[in-house]
């Protein structure tokens, strides 16, 4: 067993060149990407919101679709960042060997992984922009506080990409990621109050829910769309940054073991 390089990350500004590489690829395929970012949450909100909404006249004092909007923003951006960090990140690291090429230039692995992290958060932000447009078009934003959905989308990206990179660093093939999506992310969506209030669940599930990063994201996102300033902002941001930051550090150690052995 090789020893692990546990040193703290050291970054240089060269990471920006790697971020720009990913951005240039995105620009080439932007139309398809934006289309998916808009249409997917739109269908969900329309289908669930107006479909289920006819049976649920009000949730926590607002229409069901207004309740759903905050959760949809959070879980859609979570998935956007996760797909980028796992599938696209793995493609660049392992399938296309893009990282190998970059590492032959004067760029070190820490910079590459940082660039991928910021890039995945950027994808989350781009997804957030698209969903915010849908929310505005449906008239679901109550006031200007809705604009804070954008920094939240970026933060959600950092949180879930940081954690997801652990899977990318350990993966032998794309199939491995099924575990993350089906065992981690999907249950999290069901436990974090996307579709129904956490307060209606069994107390044990509520306790589990309070430890999940997506719950904290929704605690910020839902009030923002309902026109209210969220409570305990620092707590929620802190929990999300801790998940993302610790995940990033563990992933970086695993990436070093994998690629610099």
């Amino acid at each position: 067993m090789s020893s692990l390089d546990l040193s703290l990350p050291r970054f240089s500004w060269r990471w920006i060149a790697v971020w720009r590489r990913n951005f240039l690829v995105w620009k080439k395929l932007a139309a398809e990407s934006i289309f998916g970012n808009i249409v997917d949450p739109l269908f969900y909100m329309l289908g669930m919101g107006f479909g289920l909404g006819t049976m649920l006249p009000e949730v926590n004092g607002v229409t069901y679709i207004a309740f759903l909007a905050g959760g949809t923003v959070c879980y859609s951006t979570m998935f956007a960042a996760s797909f980028e960090a796992l599938y696209s990140g793995f493609a660049r690291m392992h399938v296309q060997r893009t990282w190998d090429g970059i590492l032959n230039a004067p760029i070190v692995l820490d910079d590459v992984v940082l660039a991928e992290w910021i890039w995945a958060a950027s994808k989350s932000l781009l997804s957030g922009v698209a969903i915010l447009l849908v929310v505005l078009a449906l008239g679901l934003a109550q006031n200007w506080l809705a604009i804070f959905i954008l920094p939240l989308a970026f933060l959600i990206g950092l949180t879930f990409a940081g954690m997801g990179f652990i899977m990318t660093a350990m993966a032998r093939s794309y199939d491995f990621f099924t575990f993350w999506f089906t065992i981690v992310l999907t249950p999290m969506v069901l436990l974090s109050g996307v579709f129904y209030p956490v307060g209606n669940m069994h107390p044990i599930l509520q306790a589990v829910s309070s430890a999940l990063p997506l719950t904290h994201a929704i605690e910020l996102g839902r009030p923002l769309l309902l026109g209210q300033v969220p409570e305990n902002i620092l707590l929620h941001v802190g929990v999300m940054l801790a998940y993302g930051g610790i995940g990033f550090y563990i992933a970086l150690v695993l990436f070093r073991r994998r690629l610099l052995k």
Binding site: K28, A105, P106
Partner: protein, 306 residues
């Protein structure tokens, strides 16, 4: 005064588990030379290159590249290095020009500097007409030339080539060789790994043959051939060549090896061997001077390596 070597690695070692992949290698490159690192699969060539680039830390030993200690200052060293990797890792989403621009940014070049530099690189790689082609549209030889052009984006002093012509057809290999010679004429220093002995013999001023992580021979190709092997070779092939070898070749040649239906006979003079074939009409033969491949096979053996 002794010239400072472009690259100097002293007694480098790397162990994975209980296997020592690199077991005490010394490598020193003079400015402007082409240095070949040869060895069978698994000899430790790629691990050695990774250590010289600072991508793998050696367990022990000292490495200095272009004046920088590696791996501590590998980033600084890599600013002046170009790398042609074994596996093409061009960006499939980009055009030829975009590949060069994006790679140049990794070195910190501004876009206008790159736009000024790229036409001459495309010309060097004979890809001017392909500037806006997608990577999937390029032939294997074109991709290889683009990888070479990409490695030159920073006008490097030192170029690492890891099996640069593997998988190319003869025409494409000759084009790569001609380009490498041009780079050497410009004063670049090249470190090359290859399986192809003709490539090494043609391009390298000096080379080192390694096996199981250790040096087993080094020197100029001609000197290695002179030192390690008889000057002439007779290749004899046909059914039951062994009978001829046992009866005739063993007494007449200084060394004879049989693989399959071919016998390789090494001698100072092979005329007596040729004469002895008169009674073996079913055997064909080829008489040639000894080459680097003969040295390589003598030193590393003929059995397959996977």
């Amino acid at each position: 005064m002794r010239e400072v070597p472009v690259l100097d690695a002293a007694n480098i070692r790397k162990r994975y588990g209980d296997r020592e992949v690199v077991a005490g290698l010394d490598i020193s490159l003079r400015r402007g030379e082409c240095f070949g690192l040869l060895g069978p699969n698994g000899a430790g060539k790629t691990t050695t290159l990774r250590m010289l680039l600072g991508l793998t830390a050696p367990d022990s030993g000292d490495i200095r590249v272009l004046g920088h200690p590696v791996p501590q200052a590998a980033r600084e060293a890599r600013i002046r290095i170009g790398v042609v990797p074994q596996m093409d890792n061009l960006d499939p989403d980009f055009t030829v020009t975009e590949n060069l621009v994006v790679y140049g940014r990794y070195f910190g070049f501004k876009d206008d500097e790159l736009q000024a530099r790229i036409p001459s690189l495309l010309q060097f790689a004979a890809l001017e007409s392909r500037a806006n082609s997608r990577i999937q549209e390029l032939s294997g030889g074109m991709k290889r030339r683009l990888v070479l052009a990409r490695a030159l984006i920073n006008d490097p002093d030192l170029i690492f080539l890891d099996e640069p012509t593997t998988g190319l057809d003869p025409q494409a290999r000759h084009v790569i060789w001609e380009r490498l010679r041009k780079l050497l004429n410009q004063g670049k220093t090249i470190l090359l790994t290859t399986h192809f002995m003709d490539e090494a013999e043609r391009l390298c001023d000096r080379l080192k043959i390694i096996d199981e992580g250790k040096t087993i021979a080094d020197g100029a190709p001609r000197d290695l051939i002179r030192e390690h092997i008889e000057p002439e070779v007779l290749e004899v092939y046909g059914e039951q060549v062994e009978q001829w070898v046992e009866k005739m070749a063993k007494p007449l040649a200084s060394r004879a090896e049989v693989t399959g239906e071919t016998a390789f006979c090494y001698a100072a003079h092979v005329q007596p061997l040729i004469d002895s074939l008169q009674n073996y009409a079913h055997l064909s033969f080829m008489h040639r001077p000894a080459n680097l491949e003969d040295v390589f096979l003598k030193l590393t053996g003929r059995e397959m390596r996977d």
